[in-house]
C-alpha cells in the first residue's frame, strides 16, 4: 500500500526520465520561421489592400485576416495545413490561420454525420474556446475600463 502511494506521488517524476525530450530549440526555430513567414504574407496582403483597394492602415487588417483565413481553410481542405502544423507547431497554430484551420478541420472531420449535425454543429468545436475566452475577458475588462475612465 505504501509502495503504491509512493508510486502515485512520484509518477510524474518517475516517468519523466523515460519520456522523449522535445527538441526545444529546434521547435522554437521552426515556429519562429513559419510564424514569421505567415506574418510577412499578412503584411504583404495588407500593403496590397492599402495601395490598390483604398483601405487605410487602421482597417486594412480586416480584409487581410479574411484573406488569410480563406487560404488557410483551402490549405486545410487540401490537407496541406496539417502537414505544416506537424512541422511548425505553434508557428502555424498561433497566427489567425491556425484559428481557421481548427474551424475547417473540425467541420471536415464530422462531415460524415451530415451538414447540420456534423459540419455546422462541430464548426466551433476547437475554436470555440478562443471565442469564449476572448469575449468573456474583453467584456469584463471592457466594463472595468469603462467604469474606471468614468470615475477618474
Amino acid at each position: 500500500m505504501a509502495k503504491q502511494k509512493l508510486n502515485e506521488q512520484n509518477f510524474e517524476k518517475a516517468t519523466k526520465e523515460y519520456q522523449p525530450k522535445p527538441p526545444y530549440l529546434m521547435n522554437m526555430l521552426k515556429a519562429f520561421i513559419v510564424g514569421g513567414i505567415i506574418c510577412v504574407l499578412g503584411e504583404l496582403l495588407s500593403e496590397m489592400y492599402i495601395h490598390w483597394f483604398d483601405f487605410k492602415e487602421e482597417n486594412a487588417g480586416n480584409p487581410t485576416v479574411a484573406t488569410l483565413i480563406f487560404f488557410s481553410a483551402l490549405a486545410t481542405g487540401l490537407g496541406v495545413y496539417d502537414r505544416l502544423g506537424q512541422f511548425a507547431g505553434a508557428g502555424s497554430a498561433v497566427p489567425v490561420t491556425g484559428f481557421a484551420n481548427s474551424v475547417t478541420s473540425a467541420a471536415l472531420e464530422h462531415k460524415s454525420e451530415g451538414f447540420v449535425l456534423g459540419v455546422a454543429t462541430n464548426l466551433f468545436k476547437l475554436a470555440g474556446s478562443v471565442i469564449v475566452f476572448g469575449v468573456v475577458s474583453a467584456y469584463l475588462l471592457g466594463i472595468l475600463r469603462y467604469v474606471c475612465t468614468q470615475l477618474f
Binding site: F32, V40, L74
Partner: protein, 116 residues
C-alpha cells in the same frame, strides 16, 4: 523594413506559443485561449496598439490581435453608449474574421473530403 519587423515580432509571438507548448505542456487550445486573453489585457492598457504601429501584420496576424480587436470594438461603442456599448461593439471589428472563418470553413467542408 515593415516586413522585417512583421517577421521578427510575428515569429517571436509564435516562439512564446511554442515554449508554452513544449516546456509548460499546454495544449494548442490552451495556448490560443491564453493568447486571446493576453491580447485583451494588453489592449486594456492601450499597449497592443503600439505593437501594431511597430510591427504591422506581425501584430495583427497572431491570434492575440483577436482579443485586441474584441476589446477595441467594445471600447469604441462604450464611448457612445456606455456599458451597453460594450456588448454592442464586441464583434464590431472582428466580424470580418469570424464571418469568413464560418463561411470558408463551411464551404471547404462541403467541397472537400477529409484527409487522413
Amino acid at each position: 523594413m515593415n516586413f522585417v519587423w512583421a517577421f521578427v515580432v510575428g515569429g517571436g509571438i509564435c516562439v512564446i506559443g511554442q515554449i508554452l507548448l513544449d516546456y509548460f505542456k499546454l495544449t494548442p487550445a490552451h495556448v490560443m485561449s491564453s493568447f486571446v486573453v493576453a491580447g485583451a489585457v494588453l489592449d486594456t492598457f492601450d499597449l497592443y496598439d503600439n505593437l501594431i504601429d511597430f510591427a504591422g501584420a506581425g501584430a495583427t496576424v497572431p491570434i492575440t490581435s483577436f482579443g485586441h480587436s474584441l476589446m477595441h470594438g467594445a471600447m469604441k461603442e462604450a464611448e457612445e453608449h456606455g456599458v451597453i456599448g460594450v456588448a454592442v461593439g464586441m464583434f464590431g471589428l472582428t466580424s470580418a474574421g469570424i464571418a469568413s472563418a464560418i463561411l470558408f470553413g463551411f464551404l471547404i467542408a462541403v467541397f472537400f473530403k477529409p484527409k487522413g
